[in-house]
């Protein structure tokens, strides 16, 4: 291949990369009804293959010499700022560096595997092609998000993934619950998006830029660390990030989002979309680093979320909701890491988490399908024997989640925890939180495992394990990735090193027991659960009280199950007032006020009409009366004008 041609080809490949799934989307949505499963699946998965191969190719082209590849498609619009006489073009332009390389490899790689899984998983659904179309569209939006050269384009992808998430959560739209979950997801994330949009307005006003590279440059030249503007902008961007990544205080939508088909939960609500917030903060690190206070907030938000989600996960009975809370909690780790300035560790965890959480969700999906859409843990039990293959895969996933040494989760999570103690923006307290979170993680994972796979089988019907090879292969691939994903650590480290600046660390000396504690924590959790949840794994059903398999109705358990009451809080604080305000004013108070005038006129009409009695003598008297009154008015007027 001609060397001179190579950059051009790379550029073209990069430019086309996100659009293969778009073509598939358009075809599927237009002709979906008429396509057979084979064609539809082939189309959508094929598009993903193209994208994945393209991303492999372009990532190959990245090197120390070529740290960035860009591809300019066309100018979207221009912002002409007349005060500073600056003109900023907002382009449809893709920007590939180490960070986006990691992201596109996750998106296309995991996306491809999930597409393969979904093709088999959703085969029976009558709206199969619509489903695959949405999934494709999602990939398009996600790729645009991570490849965007400027924040407006990023926002496009950002909203696009939100829309697809909405569509996929509400995919089975006949159920009211699904519909409401979809609505909630969209609106709650929209709150964050709005904060982010305001952040963009502010950025443009202050810097006159919206292109990420330019922002990085001018932010560093115009602002000093701790600048007020940087603080506000970072805070607003953080608002966007917490919305998308389901962090406190906008986390409530994620558990409900599990109403969508399982591949959706895997792809969108575990592996990719929810990590967009993490990506945003990592991408905008230049701004965040100028606002250390916000970095601290990020860390604290992450820590709070990971503990809160861990506690909530402990009380869940729905397998997918456990995983959802666990996702929240793991993203909390990523946030914590970003807040601590450990950007590459955060991104690394993002990737490994994508592997094992996708695995967990997909396996859960396979199990749920086998159990005739039974998702309640308390109705499972003893699946170890009945579904050995799925159990093994799930166990692999859990091992990674708990971060047992050697697994991919171990590498990434340890990398995070290791950097907390002496970070300027985190510190020992947050380190403790992270450790506590890890403990919680291992406890709820064990609880989940014991409930579902061990003990007496409580599922009476026969099982229907999927026999599809596509399912198996995709799961195995994910399992392998989860196990060996830790090896990518170095590659990522090097590729990200050029993206993230070095963060100064405090000189706090780290006690040498830190690492031991971190490694030991999961085991402590496992041992604790082994005994604490002994009844869950006991096979001796006869001697046991069956009551333990009935969901606890105690207040505390309910409180935890419902995500520590945030839903309730928001319902009474925001939703209810808004709805009742709307209801109260359905007839539009301004309209009423204006129509009041019409009422006055009608009243005037009635009054005047009653004066039209038809009586001649009254008419004559009225002439006299009116004359008299006019005389009075005239005399008053005469007196007043003469007085003045």
């Amino acid at each position: 291949m001609n060397d001179a041609m190579l950059p051009l080809i790379t550029e073209t490949v990069l430019a086309c990369l996100p659009f293969y799934p778009l073509i598939s989307f358009v075809l599927l949505i237009s002709f979906g009804k008429h396509l057979s499963w084979r064609v539809a699946a082939g189309l959508s998965v094929g598009a993903m293959v193209f994208s994945a191969l393209s991303s492999l190719f372009v990532i190959q082209q990245l090197s120390i010499d070529v740290p960035v590849i860009t591809s300019h498609l066309w100018t979207w619009f221009t912002l002409a700022e007349e005060v500073n006489q600056t003109t900023t073009s907002i382009n449809i332009k893709f920007y590939l560096d180490g960070l986006s390389a990691v992201m596109i490899s996750v998106v296309t790689g995991i996306g491809l595997l999930i597409h393969i899984f979904a093709a088999a998983y959703m085969k029976e659904d009558e709206n199969f092609s619509r489903f695959m179309a949405y999934m494709n569209l999602f990939i398009v939006a996600m790729l645009i998000l991570v490849l965007a050269d400027n924040l407006v384009l990023l926002y496009l992808g950002w909203e696009g993934v939100g829309l697809c998430s909405f569509l996929l959560i509400g995919f089975w739209y006949h159920e009211k619950a699904n519909v409401m979950a979809a609505r909630k997801a969209f609106i709650v994330t929209r709150v964050g998006d709005t904060a982010m949009a305001i952040g963009l307005f502010m950025l443009f006003k202050e810097l006159g830029q919206l292109t990420i590279v330019d922002i990085t440059q001018s932010a560093q030249t115009l602002w000093t660390t701790g600048d007020d503007k940087a603080y506000w902008i970072a805070l607003l961007l953080l608002g966007g990030a917490v919305g998308k990544s389901a962090q406190l205080p906008l986390q409530t939508w994620l558990p409900d989002a599990m109403a969508g088909p399982t591949p959706v939960s895997a792809l969108i609500h575990a592996a990719t979309m929810v990590t967009a917030g993490v990506y945003l903060i990592a991408r905008m690190n230049s701004v965040f680093l100028l606002a250390p206070q916000v970095m601290t907030y990020v860390a604290w938000l992450g820590a709070a979320t990971l503990i809160l989600a861990g506690i909530a996960a402990l009380a869940q009975s729905d397998i997918k909701r456990v995983l959802a809370y666990s996702t929240m909690s793991q993203i909390g780790y990523m946030m914590l890491s970003l807040g601590a300035g450990a950007f590459s560790a955060g991104v690394f965890h993002l990737m490994t988490h994508a592997f094992f959480k996708a695995l967990l969700f997909l396996t859960a999906g396979a199990i749920i399908l086998a159990l005739h859409h039974q998702q309640n843990l308390f109705k499972m039990g003893g699946l170890l024997k009945r579904l050995p293959f799925e159990t093994a895969l799930f166990a692999v996933g859990l091992v990674c989640l708990i971060a047992l040494p050697g697994s991919s989760g171990f590498f990434s999570k340890e990398a995070i925890i290791a950097q907390l103690w002496s970070s300027n923006t985190a510190g020992p307290l947050l380190w403790t939180c992270a450790i506590f979170g890890a403990l919680l993680t291992s406890i709820y994972s064990c609880r989940l495992f014991f409930l579902a796979f061990m003990g007496e089988s409580r599922f009476e019907q026969s099982l229907q394990p999927s026999s599809s090879k596509l399912v198996k292969y995709s799961l195995i691939a994910l399992a392998v990735l989860s196990l060996v994903g830790g090896m990518f650590g170095n590659i990522i480290e090097t590729s990200l090193a050029q993206v993230f600046p070095l963060v100064t660390r405090s000189a706090l000396n780290e006690p040498n027991w830190l690492h031991s504690v971190a490694i030991a924590t999961p085991f402590v959790g496992i041992i604790f659960s082994w005994f604490y949840f002994a009844s869950y794994r006991s096979k001796d059903s006869a001697g046991l009280n069956k009551n333990i398999f009935i969901e606890s109705t105690s207040g505390l358990a309910n409180f935890c199950r419902q995500g520590l009451g945030f839903d309730c809080l928001y319902h009474w604080l925001l939703v209810k007032p808004y709805c009742s305000l709307a209801k109260l004013n359905r007839r539009d108070i301004f309209d009423q006020l204006i129509m009041l005038n019409a009422w006055y006129v009608a009243l005037l009409h009635d009054v005047l009409k009653s004066s039209q009695t038809g009586k001649l003598r009254w008419y004559a008297a009225a002439i006299g009366l009116a004359t008299f009154l006019l005389l009075l008015v005239l005399s008053v007027d005469v007196i007043s004008t003469e007085a003045s």
Partner: protein, 493 residues
């Protein structure tokens, strides 16, 4: 090029449709379709053929009309009016198509009214003699009122009267202001004049111009509409036949914005700048209040109507921020909202034709049988809540970015409208297409090919503009009237 010919052509086409319907049934539709196509084609060709530079106002015709008041028949064009005329003609086409099967009574007269109102609207966008402008401003109302009052829904007379009285009252205020301006011209120059460009040269003391500005402003604010004088709109939109709603939302509201740009801002720059905080606040209130009201509605068309109020609030906010970016955003909002709200009203009309109800409680679960319609509905509600990639996003983004330069707090409040719009967008889309089906499924058919044509053309334009807004914004880079105003008034940071 002759705008007069354009209007006469539409009038003639309308009259022909009316006449031919008596001769042969069904012919009115084809005649009007043909008329709109021919007129649109003529306009496009004529535009290409002219050598004018439309970045400033180009006078096309100027002849004496009413000599006792020095009133002239004067028409002029610039890019703003060209863009709006193109939008009008395109939506006229949509109107003809959506009425195709909806209107079965007095079809000829219906199309006559439709085309007449289009002609009047084109007149509004081109008139530069203020009396003429007012003349068209009123004349366009008559056929639209007739559309509502004759072919509207159950409460049509009330809605038509309300619509007419609102606009008439406010425009009388404008008439008073117009007459006052001409009288001031008389006092300063010694001759009455209603010619727009004569007025631009007047030297108005602020004490007078603020009142005159208010006269114009109120008329346009009612048409825009802005809270608190918006309440004609939900009724009119709801009761109008589909094409009427499309016309109202798509074009008629734009005349209000056009008036603000052309007259309020340019004739009274200083007074506008002084008044801007109030106007911008009204804009923000409209955004939020409209979004909130839209959410509260049970009636599909009312919901869309309130969403229009919300969107027009962006225009108001943007225009009164005196910022070139915001100005572009406002212009783009006009086009984008014209297309998206037209589409949503067309959607409401199509649903009405299927289930004979506009009540959201009677809807739900339509996706099952009408996936195509659902898909389009999704796209159009996405446009309504400003999904990037559609024209509305760029429009709102530009408006807000621009407005933020001047009114950070107000813009932040306005941005909450984005949440509000998401909420009503969800209510709209999910209420119709998600959930359990309430009516007999058989009744709900998917789009016919005519409807498909309507929707796909609208969506294609929305997407095209959404990704390539420069196709429109390109015209508004150089002629930023806002810069001119800022220069005259001397506003700067």
């Amino acid at each position: 090029m002759s705008i007069t010919l354009l209007m006469c052509g539409l009038l003639f086409g309308g009259a022909l449709a009316w006449f031919l319907e008596g001769v042969k049934a069904q012919s009115a539709r084809w005649v009007s379709l043909l008329t709109v196509l021919v007129i649109g084609g003529y306009f496009a060709i004529a535009l290409n053929a002219t050598a004018y530079d439309f970045s400033t106002l180009q006078l096309l015709v100027r002849v004496a009309w009413i000599s006792s008041f020095h009133i002239e028949y004067a028409l002029a064009l610039d890019y703003l009016s060209i863009v709006l005329i193109l939008l009008t003609l395109f939506l006229a086409l949509i109107c003809v198509l959506v009425s195709w099967q909806e209107i079965n009574d007095k079809v000829g007269f219906y199309y006559f009214n439709l085309l007449t109102s289009i002609a009047g609207i084109i007149g509004v966008f081109t008139a530069v003699d203020m009396f003429l402008f007012f003349f068209f401003w009123e004349v366009m109302l008559l056929p639209i009122t007739a559309l509502i009052a004759i072919w509207g829904h159950e409460n049509r007379h009330f809605a038509a009267i309300k619509f007419f009285i609102f606009t008439q009252l406010s425009s009388l205020l404008m008439l008073v202001a117009i007459i006052s301006m001409s009288f001031i011209h008389y006092q300063q120059v010694g001759q009455l004049s209603f010619f727009y460009q004569d007025w631009l040269t007047l030297d108005l003391p602020l004490s007078i111009s603020q009142y005159l500005m208010l006269g114009f402003f109120i008329a346009f604010a009612v048409k825009l509409p802005s809270v608190p004088v918006h309440s004609w709109l939900p009724d009119a939109h709801t009761q109008a036949p589909t094409a009427g709603s499309v016309l109202l939302a798509g074009v008629l509201l734009k005349t209000g914005a056009y008036g603000l740009i052309r007259f309020v801002l340019q004739l009274f720059p200083q007074a506008s700048v002084n008044f801007a905080p109030v106007a911008a606040t009204l804009g923000v209130v409209s955004i939020l209040y409209g979004a909130k009201m839209a959410f509260a509605q049970q009636d599909l068309k009312r919901l869309v109507a309130y969403s229009s109020i919300s969107h027009m609030g962006f225009v108001m906010l943007a225009l009164f921020s005196f910022n070139a970016i915001a100005y572009q955003g406002a212009v783009l909002t006009l086009v984008a909202h014209g297309l998206s709200s037209a589409a949503l009203f067309a959607l409401a009309g199509m649903i009405y034709s299927r289930i004979h109800s506009r009540d959201l409680n009677h809807m739900g679960g339509f996706w099952l049988n009408t996936p195509r319609m659902g898909g389009f509905a999704l796209a159009f509600s996405a446009a309504a809540f400003g999904l990037p990639g559609l024209a509305n996003f760029v429009a709102e983004f530009l408006s807000l970015v621009g407005a933020y330069q001047r009114y950070p707090i107000l813009t932040i409040l306005a941005a909450f409208g984005l949440i509000g719009s998401a909420i009503y967008g969800m209510v709209l889309f999910q209420g119709v297409f998600h959930g359990k089906c309430q009516v007999k499924q058989q009744a709900v058919n998917d789009l016919s090919s005519r409807e498909l044509l309507v929707f796909s053309s609208l969506l294609a334009l929305l997407i095209f503009i959404g990704f390539y807004p420069n196709s429109i914004l390109g015209f508004f880079q150089s002629d930023s009237i806002i810069i001119a105003i800022n220069n005259t008034v001397g506003v700067s940071k």
